[in-house]
Amino acid sequence: MSTCTLRIELRVAAQWSRIESVRTAVGLCVGLVYADENMCRSISMAAAELMENAIKYGRADENRVTLAVTDEDDEVVVEVTNHVDGEAAHARVAARLAWIASFATPNDAYQAAILAMPSEDGPVTSSGLGLARIAHEGGCRLSMATRGDELTLRAHHPLLVAAR
């Protein structure tokens, strides 16, 4: 029998201006079920960063991004699904996840990502920090799944408190 007490599913317009509203909404919903402010913040940050990734790197003709947040047994899972341009995009994400997992701790991965940032002047349009930040600051394990040109990125946050 499912122990799920939290289930959010949104199909949101793939527009940057929606991300902050989604972050706020996710934080409020998780806070209704779990009285853990740090966990709410981690999960809402992960939702926003995954949405940013989907909008930045998703297919240009993408109209909608699907976001789901559920709890099951011992974790809360934030999941963002969108369409990307082919296998190369899947491979890039897989390589990034493998790179993060190759470090002893998420903090090591995040600090390596910080050190890898270019030091020259000029606007940075793609930082590559987002996923490492979800692992480090958000305390989440990352995973991915693909189906055709669809990409699902998941952030798994350990569930350390009982529902309210």
Partner: protein, 122 residues
């Protein structure tokens, strides 16, 4: 020097003998924050270059949220200050776990030159 404002983000500027203090308030969620922030940072740094003893202090205690692209813009600020030999201090609210995790990680950019420092307040 004028303060910076964009969407939900406001950065107040306080200029004194000891240097410039920037106080961040609200949320930084722009798609490419560096595009907006870099000209502002450039003006601030220009006001400090060549004035030994004047430092740049950036207070994040009242910041509610920032995205990873904003963190990238801050990393660039650290590099730019170091290149111009401007002393830079980041302060954050140590009672907030997210701020502690976010800002303590930036210590990796501190060097023996002492030009960049991170400090917990509260």
């Amino acid at each position: 020097m004028e303060s910076f404002s964009d969407g939900d983000l406001r950065i107040d500027v306080e200029d004194s003998e000891g240097g410039v203090r920037l106080e961040w308030r609200g949320k930084s969620t722009a798609r490419t924050p560096a595009l907006l922030l870099q000209p502002f940072f450039a003006r601030v740094i220009a006001a400090l270059v060549g004035h030994e003893g004047r430092a740049l202090s950036v207070a994040f205690e009242r910041l509610e949220h920032f995205n990873s692209s904003t963190i990238s813009a801050l990393i660039q600020l650290i590099h730019q200050c170091r290149a111009k030999r401007v002393k830079l201090l980041f302060t954050y609210d140590g009672r907030l776990k997210w701020q502690q995790l976010s800002f303590e990680a930036l210590r990796v950019l501190a060097k023996p030159d002492g030009l960049f420092e991170v400090r917990s307040i509260g």
